[in-house]
Symmetry: C2
Subunit: 210 residues, 2 copies
């Protein structure tokens, strides 16, 4: 016999599905609401429902948005000759926070991962081709579209990056686009001593003049 009301068990259960949340944290979260006097549980509930109702994918970049087209794609201030390809919407937030990018985005929806059964068909490569064509039409005749591949620095990210290069090889040959990749090396504050072999290799290969 459990001492917990079933509705509490259910909330703990749902919380523990979240990334990084174990059964202990999930219980603490549920109990937080049981203790809180301000109807915080229903606030989260209605926020979740509103999110579920309002949020869709931008028709151009597939980032999350509550409009037809997201605020970045519809902005007149963003450069149309740069397209940053990321795995997930959360990566857009990360890059925007850096404050140094003023181009467009495209959200692939993941990376090619045979281990997890994610092939090319599961990702938005067709939509990416379409978007690249649109942008090529949009930008000035003669200017080059830069595709910045910003997948994570994992094996799958690398494989996806190669796939993208392959996908656009005709455009590449015609010099209508160029493809770049985020620099790899030591992160700020890292300890050389603890850096893994591959990171050090990349840091050495990518060394710059000072």
């Amino acid at each position: 016999m459990s001492v917990l009301p079933s509705s509490v068990e259910q909330v703990i259960n749902e919380f523990s599905r979240l990334p990084g949340v174990g059964p202990k944290s999930a219980s603490r979260m549920a109990y937080h609401y049981l203790r809180s006097p301000n109807k915080d549980a229903t606030k989260l509930a209605s926020a979740l429902e509103e999110m579920d109702r309002e949020v869709k994918n931008c028709k151009s970049c597939f980032n999350v948005t509550d409009k037809e087209e997201c605020s970045i794609c519809s902005s007149q201030l963003r450069k149309k000759d740069k397209l940053c390809v990321v795995e997930e919407p959360i990566d857009v937030v990360a890059i925007e926070k850096s404050g140094v990018y003023d181009g467009m985005y495209f959200v692939l929806g993941g990376v090619i991962s045979p281990a997890e059964g994610i092939g090319e068909e599961e990702l938005r490569f067709k939509e990416l081709e379409k978007r690249v064509k649109e942008l090529l039409e949009d930008i000035k005749e003669g200017s080059i579209l830069e595709i910045i591949v910003a997948t994570n620095p994992s094996l799958e990210g690398e494989a996806t990056s190669s796939y993208i290069t392959d996908l656009f090889k005709t455009y590449l040959r015609e010099k209508r686009i160029k493809i770049t990749r985020l620099a790899m090396g030591l992160p700020t504050g890292a300890d050389l001593e603890y850096a893994d072999r591959l990171t050090l290799k990349r840091a050495l290969e990518g060394r710059t003049d000072i």
Copy 2:
């Protein structure tokens, strides 16, 4: 200008109010739902709403329950001559999991903490007195009611423990109740080397024959 739809911001905001959840984890949680195809966000939402609707405090022990009286207080199998006083409902779950306690509980609702502005009036001392009287009437004439103070081993927990002893001093003098406290000492798997002074002091004071 934020790149996030306001409904997503709101969900992140609500998540980050949870204990142990920083802004980064809160974002990851929100994005987990944006990626999940199974309407998991609405599942959590309705679980939270059900919890908010169904859960109330047990009229006897103030633990969370979906009935008038919780399953422990209404059980015929639990001993009525032991009352374990805890801070929060989550502590009941922890003690029940140990599997060694067969008495009743009472949930105080916190501990006396001048620093956080929690005085005696904020806690359920009046209800505790009432409950103790009820149990004294329930148990056999001549038997002693044991109040086990199971507040956390913090300064506030100690202060609350003293307050409870004070509250029942008449009953104590009349030998109608006795008050005990959870043993303090080294936790299982602890390293003596890293134990703090107070824990070691308590472990020495409470040493037992082998």
